[in-house]
Protein backbone atom coordinates (compact mmCIF):
# COMPACT_ATOMS: atom_id res chain seq x y z
CA UNK A 1 0.00 0.00 0.00
CA UNK A 2 1.17 3.48 -0.70
CA UNK A 3 1.45 5.71 2.31
CA UNK A 4 0.13 9.21 2.05
CA UNK A 5 2.77 11.87 1.57
CA UNK A 6 2.14 13.32 5.02
CA UNK A 7 2.55 9.93 6.60
CA UNK A 8 5.79 9.33 4.72
CA UNK A 9 7.22 12.68 5.80
CA UNK A 10 6.18 12.09 9.34
CA UNK A 11 7.61 8.59 9.50
CA UNK A 12 10.84 9.78 7.91
CA UNK A 13 11.23 12.64 10.39
CA UNK A 14 10.58 10.33 13.32
CA UNK A 15 12.98 7.80 11.84
CA UNK A 16 15.57 10.55 11.50
CA UNK A 17 15.05 11.52 15.12
CA UNK A 18 15.37 7.88 16.18
CA UNK A 19 18.63 7.52 14.27
CA UNK A 20 20.07 10.68 15.83
CA UNK A 21 19.05 9.52 19.30
CA UNK A 22 20.43 6.03 18.68
CA UNK A 23 23.80 7.43 17.67
CA UNK A 24 23.72 9.72 20.67
CA UNK A 25 22.93 6.90 23.03
CA UNK A 26 25.52 4.57 21.49
CA UNK A 27 28.18 7.22 22.01
CA UNK A 28 27.19 7.39 25.61
CA UNK A 29 27.86 3.71 26.15
CA UNK A 30 31.27 2.05 26.46
CA UNK A 31 30.12 -0.76 24.20
CA UNK A 32 27.21 -0.77 21.82
CA UNK A 33 26.72 -4.41 21.01
CA UNK A 34 23.91 -6.89 20.82
CA UNK A 35 23.21 -6.74 24.56
CA UNK A 36 22.65 -3.00 24.33
CA UNK A 37 20.37 -3.42 21.34
CA UNK A 38 18.42 -6.10 23.16
CA UNK A 39 18.13 -3.77 26.15
CA UNK A 40 16.61 -1.06 24.03
CA UNK A 41 14.15 -3.37 22.30
CA UNK A 42 13.06 -4.99 25.54
CA UNK A 43 12.65 -1.51 26.99
CA UNK A 44 10.16 -0.48 24.33
CA UNK A 45 8.24 -3.67 23.60
CA UNK A 46 5.40 -3.13 26.08
CA UNK A 47 4.89 0.53 25.29
CA UNK A 48 5.29 -0.03 21.54
CA UNK A 49 2.69 -2.79 21.47
CA UNK A 50 0.32 -0.71 23.53
CA UNK A 51 0.95 2.33 21.34
CA UNK A 52 0.13 0.27 18.25
CA UNK A 53 -3.16 -0.88 19.74
CA UNK A 54 -4.02 2.64 20.82
CA UNK A 55 -3.05 4.05 17.42
CA UNK A 56 -5.30 1.62 15.64
CA UNK A 57 -8.22 2.62 17.82
CA UNK A 58 -7.51 6.32 17.35
CA UNK A 59 -7.28 5.80 13.60
CA UNK A 60 -10.74 4.26 13.80
CA UNK A 61 -12.06 7.41 15.44
CA UNK A 62 -11.97 6.17 19.02
CA UNK A 63 -9.65 6.25 21.98
CA UNK A 64 -9.16 3.60 24.64
CA UNK A 65 -8.27 4.92 28.07
CA UNK A 66 -8.53 1.37 29.38
CA UNK A 67 -5.87 -0.09 27.12
CA UNK A 68 -3.25 -0.06 29.88
CA UNK A 69 -5.68 -1.74 32.26
CA UNK A 70 -6.43 -4.32 29.58
CA UNK A 71 -2.73 -5.14 29.30
CA UNK A 72 -2.36 -5.30 33.09
CA UNK A 73 -5.33 -7.65 33.31
CA UNK A 74 -3.82 -10.02 30.75
CA UNK A 75 -0.46 -9.70 32.50
CA UNK A 76 -2.13 -10.80 35.75
CA UNK A 77 -4.08 -13.64 34.18
CA UNK A 78 -1.15 -15.13 32.31
CA UNK A 79 1.35 -14.68 35.13
CA UNK A 80 -0.96 -16.15 37.71
CA UNK A 81 -1.78 -19.34 35.84
CA UNK A 82 1.64 -19.82 34.23
CA UNK A 83 3.56 -19.70 37.48
CA UNK A 84 5.77 -22.75 37.76
CA UNK A 85 4.17 -24.31 34.73
CA UNK A 86 5.64 -26.13 31.77
CA UNK A 87 6.09 -24.60 28.36
CA UNK A 88 2.82 -25.85 26.93
CA UNK A 89 0.77 -24.49 29.82
CA UNK A 90 2.44 -21.11 29.61
CA UNK A 91 1.80 -21.01 25.88
CA UNK A 92 -1.79 -22.07 26.37
CA UNK A 93 -2.38 -19.32 28.92
CA UNK A 94 -0.66 -16.76 26.73
CA UNK A 95 -2.97 -17.62 23.87
CA UNK A 96 -5.98 -17.66 26.14
CA UNK A 97 -4.93 -14.31 27.58
CA UNK A 98 -4.79 -12.82 24.11
CA UNK A 99 -8.20 -14.27 23.31
CA UNK A 100 -9.59 -12.78 26.52
CA UNK A 101 -8.10 -9.42 25.62
CA UNK A 102 -9.69 -9.56 22.19
CA UNK A 103 -13.03 -10.34 23.81
CA UNK A 104 -12.60 -7.50 26.32
CA UNK A 105 -11.86 -5.16 23.41
CA UNK A 106 -14.84 -6.38 21.45
CA UNK A 107 -17.15 -5.90 24.43
CA UNK A 108 -15.80 -2.38 24.90
CA UNK A 109 -16.49 -1.60 21.24
CA UNK A 110 -19.93 -3.13 21.54
CA UNK A 111 -20.77 -1.01 24.58
CA UNK A 112 -19.63 2.13 22.78
CA UNK A 113 -21.73 1.34 19.72
CA UNK A 114 -24.74 0.17 21.65
CA UNK A 115 -24.83 2.97 24.21
CA UNK A 116 -23.81 5.84 21.97
CA UNK A 117 -21.62 7.16 24.80
CA UNK A 118 -18.30 8.73 23.82
CA UNK A 119 -15.30 6.38 23.67
CA UNK A 120 -13.40 8.37 26.30
CA UNK A 121 -16.19 7.97 28.80
CA UNK A 122 -16.82 4.29 28.28
CA UNK A 123 -13.14 3.40 28.45
CA UNK A 124 -12.58 5.65 31.46
CA UNK A 125 -15.19 3.54 33.24
CA UNK A 126 -13.96 0.20 31.92
CA UNK A 127 -10.43 1.03 33.07
CA UNK A 128 -11.69 0.85 36.65
CA UNK A 129 -13.58 -2.35 35.96
CA UNK A 130 -10.59 -4.06 34.34
CA UNK A 131 -8.24 -3.11 37.18
CA UNK A 132 -10.88 -4.48 39.53
CA UNK A 133 -10.76 -7.81 37.69
CA UNK A 134 -6.98 -7.76 37.70
CA UNK A 135 -7.01 -7.27 41.48
CA UNK A 136 -9.41 -10.17 41.85
CA UNK A 137 -7.16 -12.48 39.93
CA UNK A 138 -3.85 -11.31 41.31
CA UNK A 139 -4.41 -9.32 44.52
CA UNK A 140 -0.75 -8.28 44.69
CA UNK A 141 2.43 -8.60 42.69
CA UNK A 142 3.35 -12.16 41.94
CA UNK A 143 2.96 -14.93 39.44
CA UNK A 144 5.49 -16.28 37.02
CA UNK A 145 5.97 -17.98 33.72
CA UNK A 146 7.83 -20.86 32.18
CA UNK A 147 11.37 -19.70 31.47
CA UNK A 148 11.66 -21.42 28.11
CA UNK A 149 8.49 -19.70 27.09
CA UNK A 150 9.83 -16.34 28.26
CA UNK A 151 12.96 -16.91 26.15
CA UNK A 152 10.82 -16.57 23.03
CA UNK A 153 10.18 -12.99 24.10
CA UNK A 154 13.32 -11.86 25.84
CA UNK A 155 15.81 -13.94 23.88
CA UNK A 156 18.69 -15.88 25.31
CA UNK A 157 21.88 -14.24 26.55
CA UNK A 158 22.87 -11.43 24.23
CA UNK A 159 20.63 -12.27 21.30
CA UNK A 160 18.19 -9.58 20.37
CA UNK A 161 16.46 -11.56 17.63
CA UNK A 162 13.60 -12.82 19.77
CA UNK A 163 12.55 -9.38 21.10
CA UNK A 164 12.95 -7.94 17.62
CA UNK A 165 10.50 -10.52 16.33
CA UNK A 166 8.10 -9.79 19.15
CA UNK A 167 8.19 -6.15 18.13
CA UNK A 168 7.87 -6.59 14.39
CA UNK A 169 5.85 -9.76 13.92
CA UNK A 170 2.61 -8.05 14.97
CA UNK A 171 3.27 -5.36 12.38
CA UNK A 172 4.08 -7.90 9.69
CA UNK A 173 1.48 -10.52 10.55
CA UNK A 174 -1.39 -8.40 11.78
CA UNK A 175 -1.03 -4.87 10.58
CA UNK A 176 0.22 -5.26 7.01
CA UNK A 177 -2.46 -7.76 5.95
CA UNK A 178 -5.13 -5.93 7.92
CA UNK A 179 -4.31 -2.62 6.33
CA UNK A 180 -4.84 -4.09 2.89
CA UNK A 181 -8.09 -5.78 3.80
CA UNK A 182 -11.52 -4.26 3.58
CA UNK A 183 -11.77 -4.39 7.38
CA UNK A 184 -8.61 -2.31 7.75
CA UNK A 185 -9.88 0.22 5.25
CA UNK A 186 -13.16 0.31 7.16
CA UNK A 187 -11.20 1.28 10.30
CA UNK A 188 -9.85 4.31 8.51
CA UNK A 189 -13.29 4.96 7.04
CA UNK A 190 -15.17 5.09 10.34
CA UNK A 191 -12.40 7.19 11.82
CA UNK A 192 -12.47 9.64 8.96
CA UNK A 193 -16.21 10.03 8.51
CA UNK A 194 -18.74 7.78 10.12
CA UNK A 195 -21.58 9.00 7.96
CA UNK A 196 -19.69 8.61 4.72
CA UNK A 197 -18.48 5.21 5.86
CA UNK A 198 -22.02 4.09 6.50
CA UNK A 199 -23.14 5.39 3.14
CA UNK A 200 -20.27 3.44 1.60
CA UNK A 201 -21.71 0.27 3.04
CA UNK A 202 -19.57 -0.09 6.15
CA UNK A 203 -21.42 -1.54 9.12
CA UNK A 204 -20.24 1.07 11.58
CA UNK A 205 -21.19 -0.75 14.76
CA UNK A 206 -19.67 -4.04 13.72
CA UNK A 207 -16.50 -2.35 12.47
CA UNK A 208 -16.11 -0.56 15.77
CA UNK A 209 -16.38 -3.86 17.61
CA UNK A 210 -13.65 -5.30 15.39
CA UNK A 211 -11.58 -2.16 15.86
CA UNK A 212 -11.56 -2.47 19.62
CA UNK A 213 -11.06 -6.20 19.34
CA UNK A 214 -7.90 -5.75 17.26
CA UNK A 215 -6.80 -3.04 19.70
CA UNK A 216 -7.40 -5.64 22.41
CA UNK A 217 -5.22 -8.07 20.49
CA UNK A 218 -2.30 -5.66 20.78
CA UNK A 219 -3.08 -4.97 24.44
CA UNK A 220 -3.12 -8.74 25.00
CA UNK A 221 0.24 -9.10 23.30
CA UNK A 222 1.51 -6.32 25.52
CA UNK A 223 0.18 -8.13 28.59
CA UNK A 224 1.82 -11.40 27.57
CA UNK A 225 5.10 -9.65 26.81
CA UNK A 226 4.95 -8.02 30.26
CA UNK A 227 4.58 -11.47 31.75
CA UNK A 228 7.50 -12.78 29.74
CA UNK A 229 9.78 -9.80 30.43
CA UNK A 230 9.10 -9.52 34.15
CA UNK A 231 8.09 -13.14 34.78
CA UNK A 232 5.50 -11.70 37.16
CA UNK A 233 2.54 -9.34 37.30
CA UNK A 234 1.42 -6.32 39.32
CA UNK A 235 -2.21 -5.17 39.31
CA UNK A 236 -1.78 -1.46 39.98
CA UNK A 237 -3.92 1.30 38.52
CA UNK A 238 -1.12 3.89 38.59
CA UNK A 239 0.90 1.72 36.25
CA UNK A 240 -1.95 1.16 33.84
CA UNK A 241 -2.81 4.86 33.70
CA UNK A 242 0.78 5.84 33.00
CA UNK A 243 0.99 3.21 30.30
CA UNK A 244 -2.25 4.40 28.72
CA UNK A 245 -1.16 8.02 28.64
CA UNK A 246 2.20 7.01 27.16
CA UNK A 247 0.41 5.03 24.49
CA UNK A 248 -1.58 8.11 23.51
CA UNK A 249 1.56 10.24 23.45
CA UNK A 250 3.38 7.68 21.30
CA UNK A 251 0.42 7.47 18.93
CA UNK A 252 0.34 11.22 18.45
CA UNK A 253 4.11 11.53 18.12
CA UNK A 254 3.88 8.71 15.62
CA UNK A 255 1.70 10.77 13.33
CA UNK A 256 -1.72 9.48 14.25
CA UNK A 257 -4.27 12.31 14.22
CA UNK A 258 -6.49 12.28 17.27
CA UNK A 259 -9.38 13.25 15.03
CA UNK A 260 -9.18 9.82 13.45
CA UNK A 261 -8.70 8.42 9.97
CA UNK A 262 -5.03 9.33 9.64
CA UNK A 263 -1.82 7.51 10.49
CA UNK A 264 -0.30 4.06 10.67
CA UNK A 265 1.43 1.75 13.13
CA UNK A 266 5.07 2.20 12.07
CA UNK A 267 5.17 5.77 13.28
CA UNK A 268 3.93 5.00 16.81
CA UNK A 269 6.34 2.07 17.11
CA UNK A 270 9.19 4.44 16.25
CA UNK A 271 7.78 7.12 18.54
CA UNK A 272 7.88 4.76 21.50
CA UNK A 273 11.62 4.52 20.84
CA UNK A 274 11.84 8.30 21.11
CA UNK A 275 9.93 8.18 24.36
CA UNK A 276 12.38 5.55 25.60
CA UNK A 277 15.48 7.45 24.53
CA UNK A 278 14.75 10.84 26.07
CA UNK A 279 14.90 9.79 29.74
CA UNK A 280 17.54 7.17 29.05
CA UNK A 281 19.95 9.57 27.39
CA UNK A 282 19.42 12.12 30.13
CA UNK A 283 19.97 9.35 32.64
CA UNK A 284 23.30 8.68 30.98
CA UNK A 285 24.37 12.21 31.81
CA UNK A 286 23.23 11.91 35.40
CA UNK A 287 20.69 14.68 34.98
CA UNK A 288 17.89 14.89 37.53
CA UNK A 289 15.02 12.81 36.11
CA UNK A 290 12.59 15.63 36.87
CA UNK A 291 14.23 17.58 34.05
CA UNK A 292 13.76 14.73 31.64
CA UNK A 293 10.07 14.81 32.39
CA UNK A 294 10.00 18.52 31.59
CA UNK A 295 11.95 17.98 28.39
CA UNK A 296 9.77 15.08 27.32
CA UNK A 297 6.63 17.15 27.85
CA UNK A 298 8.06 20.13 26.01
CA UNK A 299 9.31 17.98 23.16
CA UNK A 300 5.93 16.33 22.71
CA UNK A 301 4.29 19.73 22.47
CA UNK A 302 6.94 20.92 20.06
CA UNK A 303 6.62 17.92 17.75
CA UNK A 304 2.86 18.17 17.65
CA UNK A 305 3.08 21.91 17.11
CA UNK A 306 5.57 21.66 14.26
CA UNK A 307 3.62 18.78 12.76
CA UNK A 308 0.46 20.84 12.93
CA UNK A 309 2.11 23.83 11.28
CA UNK A 310 3.54 21.65 8.51
CA UNK A 311 0.18 20.09 7.93
CA UNK A 312 -1.47 23.49 7.80
CA UNK A 313 1.09 24.57 5.22
CA UNK A 314 0.57 21.40 3.23
CA UNK A 315 -3.13 22.13 2.98
CA UNK A 316 -2.64 25.50 1.35
Amino acid sequence: MKLSLREQYWNLSILGLVIILTVWRSNQLPVFGSYEIKTIILGIIPIALLAMGQSLIIIGGGINLAIGAEAILINCITAKYSEGSDFATSLRWALLGIVISVIVGAVTGWIISKSGIADIVVTLATSFVLIGFALFIQPGPGGGVNLDFAKYFIGGEDSYLAPLFVLFLPILLIWLPLQKSRLGISFYAIGSSKDAAFLSGVNVARTRVSLYAVGGLFAGLCGVSLTAITQAASPFAVISNTATLNSVAAAVLGGVALAGGVGGLFGPALASLVLYYIPTIMLGYGIDPAYSQIIQGALTILVVLVGGLLRARGKR
Partner: protein
Protein backbone atom coordinates in the same frame (compact mmCIF):
# COMPACT_ATOMS: atom_id res chain seq x y z
CA UNK B 1 37.75 -2.89 37.04
CA UNK B 2 36.49 0.47 38.26
CA UNK B 3 38.83 2.86 39.96
CA UNK B 4 38.10 2.59 43.66
CA UNK B 5 37.36 6.29 43.91
CA UNK B 6 35.38 6.55 40.78
CA UNK B 7 32.33 4.42 41.22
CA UNK B 8 29.26 5.04 39.12
CA UNK B 9 26.01 4.25 40.89
CA UNK B 10 22.67 3.70 39.18
CA UNK B 11 19.44 4.38 41.06
CA UNK B 12 16.09 3.09 39.91
CA UNK B 13 13.04 4.45 41.63
CA UNK B 14 9.71 3.29 40.22
CA UNK B 15 7.40 5.70 41.95
CA UNK B 16 7.92 9.44 41.59
CA UNK B 17 6.28 12.66 42.61
CA UNK B 18 6.34 11.87 46.30
CA UNK B 19 8.55 13.52 48.84
CA UNK B 20 9.50 10.32 50.67
CA UNK B 21 11.01 8.93 47.48
CA UNK B 22 12.65 12.27 46.66
CA UNK B 23 14.33 12.30 50.06
CA UNK B 24 15.42 8.72 49.55
CA UNK B 25 17.15 9.73 46.31
CA UNK B 26 18.64 12.84 47.93
CA UNK B 27 20.09 10.70 50.71
CA UNK B 28 21.84 8.53 48.13
CA UNK B 29 23.24 11.61 46.41
CA UNK B 30 24.34 13.26 49.66
CA UNK B 31 26.02 10.14 50.98
CA UNK B 32 27.72 9.52 47.65
CA UNK B 33 29.09 13.06 47.57
CA UNK B 34 30.39 12.79 51.12
CA UNK B 35 32.04 9.42 50.51
CA UNK B 36 34.30 10.89 47.80
CA UNK B 37 34.34 7.45 46.25
CA UNK B 38 31.61 8.04 43.73
CA UNK B 39 31.96 10.02 40.55
CA UNK B 40 28.41 9.85 39.34
CA UNK B 41 24.94 8.97 40.56
CA UNK B 42 22.58 8.20 37.68
CA UNK B 43 18.95 8.37 38.76
CA UNK B 44 15.89 7.08 37.00
CA UNK B 45 12.82 8.14 38.89
CA UNK B 46 9.37 7.85 37.33
CA UNK B 47 6.04 6.16 37.75
CA UNK B 48 6.62 2.89 36.04
CA UNK B 49 6.02 -0.82 36.23
CA UNK B 50 8.36 -3.76 36.61
CA UNK B 51 9.03 -3.80 32.88
CA UNK B 52 10.04 -0.14 33.08
CA UNK B 53 12.32 -0.78 36.04
CA UNK B 54 13.82 -3.75 34.20
CA UNK B 55 14.52 -1.42 31.29
CA UNK B 56 16.22 0.99 33.71
CA UNK B 57 18.35 -1.79 35.14
CA UNK B 58 19.36 -2.95 31.66
CA UNK B 59 20.23 0.63 30.70
CA UNK B 60 22.48 0.75 33.77
CA UNK B 61 24.11 -2.50 32.69
CA UNK B 62 24.77 -1.04 29.24
CA UNK B 63 26.18 1.99 30.98
CA UNK B 64 28.50 -0.29 32.97
CA UNK B 65 27.69 1.17 36.38
CA UNK B 66 29.37 -0.39 39.40
CA UNK B 67 26.32 -0.74 41.58
CA UNK B 68 22.58 -0.40 41.23
CA UNK B 69 20.39 0.80 44.06
CA UNK B 70 16.80 -0.05 43.40
CA UNK B 71 13.57 0.65 45.19
CA UNK B 72 11.63 -2.21 43.68
CA UNK B 73 7.94 -1.99 42.81
CA UNK B 74 7.83 -5.74 42.86
CA UNK B 75 9.80 -8.40 44.70
CA UNK B 76 10.18 -10.88 41.84
CA UNK B 77 9.40 -9.12 38.61
CA UNK B 78 12.72 -7.37 38.18
CA UNK B 79 14.70 -10.54 38.80
CA UNK B 80 15.48 -11.34 35.15
CA UNK B 81 17.13 -7.93 34.71
CA UNK B 82 18.78 -7.96 38.14
CA UNK B 83 20.13 -11.44 37.39
CA UNK B 84 21.78 -10.06 34.26
CA UNK B 85 23.27 -7.23 36.32
CA UNK B 86 24.70 -9.53 38.97
CA UNK B 87 26.10 -11.77 36.27
CA UNK B 88 27.81 -8.74 34.76
CA UNK B 89 29.51 -8.12 38.11
CA UNK B 90 27.32 -5.22 39.15
CA UNK B 91 26.37 -5.02 42.81
CA UNK B 92 22.64 -4.81 43.39
CA UNK B 93 21.20 -3.24 46.51
CA UNK B 94 17.46 -3.17 47.06
CA UNK B 95 16.30 -0.47 49.44
CA UNK B 96 12.94 0.01 51.14
CA UNK B 97 11.50 -3.21 49.75
CA UNK B 98 13.06 -6.63 49.11
CA UNK B 99 13.93 -8.35 45.85
CA UNK B 100 14.29 -12.09 45.56
CA UNK B 101 17.15 -12.16 43.04
CA UNK B 102 19.97 -14.31 44.45
CA UNK B 103 23.09 -12.26 45.12
CA UNK B 104 21.25 -8.99 45.74
CA UNK B 105 21.68 -7.10 49.01
CA UNK B 106 18.67 -5.80 50.83
CA UNK B 107 18.58 -2.72 53.03
CA UNK B 108 15.11 -2.14 54.26
CA UNK B 109 12.90 -1.06 57.04
CA UNK B 110 11.42 -4.07 58.72
CA UNK B 111 7.90 -3.58 57.46
CA UNK B 112 6.43 -6.37 59.56
CA UNK B 113 7.81 -4.73 62.69
CA UNK B 114 6.58 -1.39 61.36
CA UNK B 115 3.04 -2.73 61.43
CA UNK B 116 3.53 -4.33 64.83
CA UNK B 117 5.25 -1.40 66.55
CA UNK B 118 2.46 1.01 65.68
CA UNK B 119 -0.19 -1.50 66.62
CA UNK B 120 1.44 -2.18 69.97
CA UNK B 121 1.63 1.53 70.80
CA UNK B 122 -1.92 2.05 69.63
CA UNK B 123 -3.15 -0.77 71.82
CA UNK B 124 -1.47 0.83 74.77
CA UNK B 125 -2.94 4.25 73.99
CA UNK B 126 -6.39 2.69 73.65
CA UNK B 127 -6.04 0.84 76.92
CA UNK B 128 -6.20 -2.45 75.04
CA UNK B 129 -9.82 -2.11 74.10
CA UNK B 130 -12.03 -0.51 71.49
CA UNK B 131 -12.65 -0.34 67.78
CA UNK B 132 -9.90 0.46 65.31
CA UNK B 133 -10.16 2.16 61.95
CA UNK B 134 -7.46 0.45 59.92
CA UNK B 135 -6.24 2.54 56.99
CA UNK B 136 -3.83 0.58 54.84
CA UNK B 137 -1.69 1.51 51.84
CA UNK B 138 -2.10 -0.05 48.40
CA UNK B 139 -3.90 -3.35 48.21
CA UNK B 140 -1.44 -6.04 47.27
CA UNK B 141 1.66 -3.89 47.63
CA UNK B 142 4.45 -5.96 49.25
CA UNK B 143 5.14 -3.41 52.00
CA UNK B 144 1.45 -3.18 52.74
CA UNK B 145 1.16 -6.96 52.97
CA UNK B 146 4.09 -7.18 55.41
CA UNK B 147 2.79 -4.34 57.58
CA UNK B 148 -0.59 -6.03 57.62
CA UNK B 149 0.99 -9.22 58.94
CA UNK B 150 2.69 -7.33 61.77
CA UNK B 151 -0.41 -5.32 62.58
CA UNK B 152 -2.74 -8.31 62.63
CA UNK B 153 -0.37 -10.34 64.76
CA UNK B 154 -0.60 -7.69 67.49
CA UNK B 155 -4.34 -7.26 67.15
CA UNK B 156 -4.77 -11.00 67.62
CA UNK B 157 -3.22 -10.67 71.03
CA UNK B 158 -5.78 -8.26 72.41
CA UNK B 159 -9.24 -9.76 72.59
CA UNK B 160 -10.95 -6.47 73.40
CA UNK B 161 -9.63 -4.67 70.37
CA UNK B 162 -11.39 -5.02 67.07
CA UNK B 163 -10.70 -3.76 63.57
CA UNK B 164 -14.19 -2.65 62.63
CA UNK B 165 -13.25 -0.98 59.39
CA UNK B 166 -10.46 -1.66 56.94
CA UNK B 167 -9.80 0.59 53.94
CA UNK B 168 -7.03 1.30 51.46
CA UNK B 169 -5.76 4.86 51.08
CA UNK B 170 -3.51 3.98 48.14
CA UNK B 171 -0.97 6.10 50.02
CA UNK B 172 -2.76 9.09 48.55
CA UNK B 173 -3.04 12.03 50.94
CA UNK B 174 -6.23 13.44 49.50
CA UNK B 175 -7.90 10.06 49.35
CA UNK B 176 -6.82 9.25 52.89
CA UNK B 177 -8.32 12.50 54.14
CA UNK B 178 -11.51 11.92 52.22
CA UNK B 179 -11.89 8.40 53.60
CA UNK B 180 -11.27 9.62 57.12
CA UNK B 181 -13.95 12.27 56.74
CA UNK B 182 -16.38 9.73 55.38
CA UNK B 183 -15.69 7.13 58.04
CA UNK B 184 -14.89 8.89 61.31
CA UNK B 185 -18.11 9.17 63.22
CA UNK B 186 -18.37 10.23 66.86
CA UNK B 187 -18.06 7.22 69.13
CA UNK B 188 -17.59 4.71 66.38
CA UNK B 189 -13.84 4.24 66.66
CA UNK B 190 -11.47 4.50 69.58
CA UNK B 191 -8.29 4.52 67.55
CA UNK B 192 -6.90 4.77 64.03
CA UNK B 193 -3.94 3.02 62.44
CA UNK B 194 -2.65 4.50 59.19
CA UNK B 195 0.05 3.25 56.91
CA UNK B 196 1.63 6.70 56.90
CA UNK B 197 -1.27 8.77 55.56
CA UNK B 198 -1.62 10.55 58.86
CA UNK B 199 -2.02 14.33 58.97
CA UNK B 200 -5.24 14.56 56.90
CA UNK B 201 -6.80 12.12 59.34
CA UNK B 202 -6.04 14.53 62.18
CA UNK B 203 -7.78 17.26 60.16
CA UNK B 204 -10.76 14.91 59.79
CA UNK B 205 -10.83 14.40 63.57
CA UNK B 206 -11.05 18.16 63.96
CA UNK B 207 -14.09 18.44 61.70
CA UNK B 208 -15.84 15.11 62.27
CA UNK B 209 -15.22 14.51 65.93
CA UNK B 210 -15.31 18.22 66.69
CA UNK B 211 -11.95 18.03 68.41
CA UNK B 212 -12.53 14.88 70.43
CA UNK B 213 -9.28 13.28 69.37
CA UNK B 214 -8.64 9.55 69.39
CA UNK B 215 -5.20 7.94 69.21
CA UNK B 216 -3.71 7.79 65.75
CA UNK B 217 -0.75 5.86 64.35
CA UNK B 218 1.17 7.65 61.63
CA UNK B 219 4.65 7.85 60.21
CA UNK B 220 7.49 10.28 60.75
CA UNK B 221 5.96 12.88 58.43
CA UNK B 222 6.93 16.41 59.34
CA UNK B 223 3.36 17.73 59.57
CA UNK B 224 2.30 14.79 61.71
CA UNK B 225 5.14 15.46 64.11
CA UNK B 226 3.90 19.02 64.43
CA UNK B 227 0.35 17.88 65.11
CA UNK B 228 1.59 15.36 67.64
CA UNK B 229 3.46 18.13 69.45
CA UNK B 230 0.86 20.86 69.26
CA UNK B 231 -2.27 18.85 69.87
CA UNK B 232 -0.79 16.84 72.75
CA UNK B 233 -2.17 19.42 75.14
CA UNK B 234 -5.64 18.93 73.63
CA UNK B 235 -5.58 15.24 74.39
CA UNK B 236 -4.37 13.99 71.05
CA UNK B 237 -2.12 10.95 71.13
CA UNK B 238 -0.12 10.71 67.95
CA UNK B 239 2.07 7.67 67.49
CA UNK B 240 5.01 8.30 65.19
CA UNK B 241 6.43 5.17 63.62
CA UNK B 242 9.77 5.70 61.98
CA UNK B 243 10.11 4.88 58.34
CA UNK B 244 13.19 6.86 57.37
CA UNK B 245 13.42 7.92 53.76
CA UNK B 246 17.16 8.36 54.20
CA UNK B 247 17.37 4.60 53.96
CA UNK B 248 18.64 5.42 50.49
CA UNK B 249 21.81 6.67 52.15
CA UNK B 250 22.12 3.38 54.01
CA UNK B 251 21.75 1.61 50.68
CA UNK B 252 24.64 3.62 49.29
CA UNK B 253 26.79 2.83 52.30
CA UNK B 254 26.14 -0.88 51.80
CA UNK B 255 26.89 -0.54 48.10
CA UNK B 256 30.27 1.07 48.81
CA UNK B 257 31.12 -1.56 51.42
CA UNK B 258 30.36 -4.31 48.95
CA UNK B 259 32.34 -2.59 46.22
CA UNK B 260 35.24 -2.17 48.57
CA UNK B 261 35.19 -5.88 49.19
CA UNK B 262 33.94 -5.81 52.75
CA UNK B 263 31.68 -8.58 53.93
CA UNK B 264 28.14 -7.38 54.27
CA UNK B 265 25.07 -9.26 55.44
CA UNK B 266 22.78 -9.93 52.52
CA UNK B 267 19.88 -8.46 54.41
CA UNK B 268 20.03 -5.43 56.72
CA UNK B 269 16.72 -4.65 58.36
CA UNK B 270 16.17 -1.46 60.32
CA UNK B 271 13.87 -1.78 63.26
CA UNK B 272 11.22 0.91 63.38
CA UNK B 273 10.53 2.83 66.56
CA UNK B 274 7.17 4.07 67.74
CA UNK B 275 7.19 7.43 69.51
CA UNK B 276 4.54 9.28 71.43
CA UNK B 277 4.92 12.84 72.60
CA UNK B 278 4.58 11.82 76.20
CA UNK B 279 7.38 9.28 76.11
CA UNK B 280 9.63 10.70 73.40
CA UNK B 281 9.26 14.47 73.65
CA UNK B 282 12.94 15.08 73.02
CA UNK B 283 13.15 12.93 69.93
CA UNK B 284 10.02 14.38 68.42
CA UNK B 285 11.06 17.94 69.15
CA UNK B 286 14.44 17.42 67.54
CA UNK B 287 13.04 15.61 64.52
CA UNK B 288 10.56 18.30 63.54
CA UNK B 289 11.83 20.67 60.85
CA UNK B 290 9.96 23.95 60.76
CA UNK B 291 10.80 24.82 57.18
CA UNK B 292 10.17 21.43 55.62
CA UNK B 293 7.38 20.07 53.53
CA UNK B 294 4.45 18.40 55.26
CA UNK B 295 5.24 14.97 53.91
CA UNK B 296 8.95 15.26 54.57
CA UNK B 297 10.26 12.15 56.27
CA UNK B 298 11.72 13.60 59.43
CA UNK B 299 14.25 10.98 60.40
CA UNK B 300 17.32 12.46 58.75
CA UNK B 301 19.90 10.02 59.87
CA UNK B 302 20.36 6.33 60.41
CA UNK B 303 23.10 5.84 62.95
CA UNK B 304 25.78 3.56 61.70
CA UNK B 305 24.87 4.10 58.08
CA UNK B 306 24.47 7.73 57.12
CA UNK B 307 26.93 10.53 57.75
CA UNK B 308 25.40 13.59 56.08
CA UNK B 309 23.99 16.53 57.99
CA UNK B 310 20.43 17.70 57.40
CA UNK B 311 21.76 20.65 55.41
CA UNK B 312 23.74 18.35 53.15
CA UNK B 313 20.68 16.20 52.66
CA UNK B 314 18.54 19.20 51.74
CA UNK B 315 21.10 20.35 49.18
CA UNK B 316 20.41 17.11 47.33
CA UNK B 317 23.55 17.29 45.19
CA UNK B 318 25.09 14.30 43.48
CA UNK B 319 28.88 14.20 43.03
CA UNK B 320 28.58 15.27 39.41
CA UNK B 321 26.48 18.31 40.44
CA UNK B 322 28.86 19.58 43.12
CA UNK B 323 31.40 22.27 42.47
CA UNK B 324 33.86 20.12 44.40
CA UNK B 325 32.64 16.92 42.74
CA UNK B 326 35.15 14.35 41.67
CA UNK B 327 34.64 14.72 37.95
CA UNK B 328 31.94 15.93 35.58
Amino acid sequence: PANANNYVIGVSNGWAGNSWRETMVCAIKAEATLSKKVSKVLVSSRNTDAAGQSADVRAFISQKVNAIIINPGDKDAINPALGEAIKAGIKVIAVDGPVSAPGAYIVSNDQKKYGAAGAEALAKAMNYKGNVLYMRGISGHPADTLRDEGFKSVMAKYKNMKVTKEVFTNWDWAKGGELAKQLLKPGKFQGVWTSGIDYPVVEAMKTNLRGKYIPLVGADNNEFLRQTKELASKGFVGIVVSNPAVIGGAGLKVALDVLDGKTVASESLLTPTAWTYKANKKEIDSSYFVGQEATFSSAVKIPGYTTFSPAQLFRCKAPQDSDDGARA
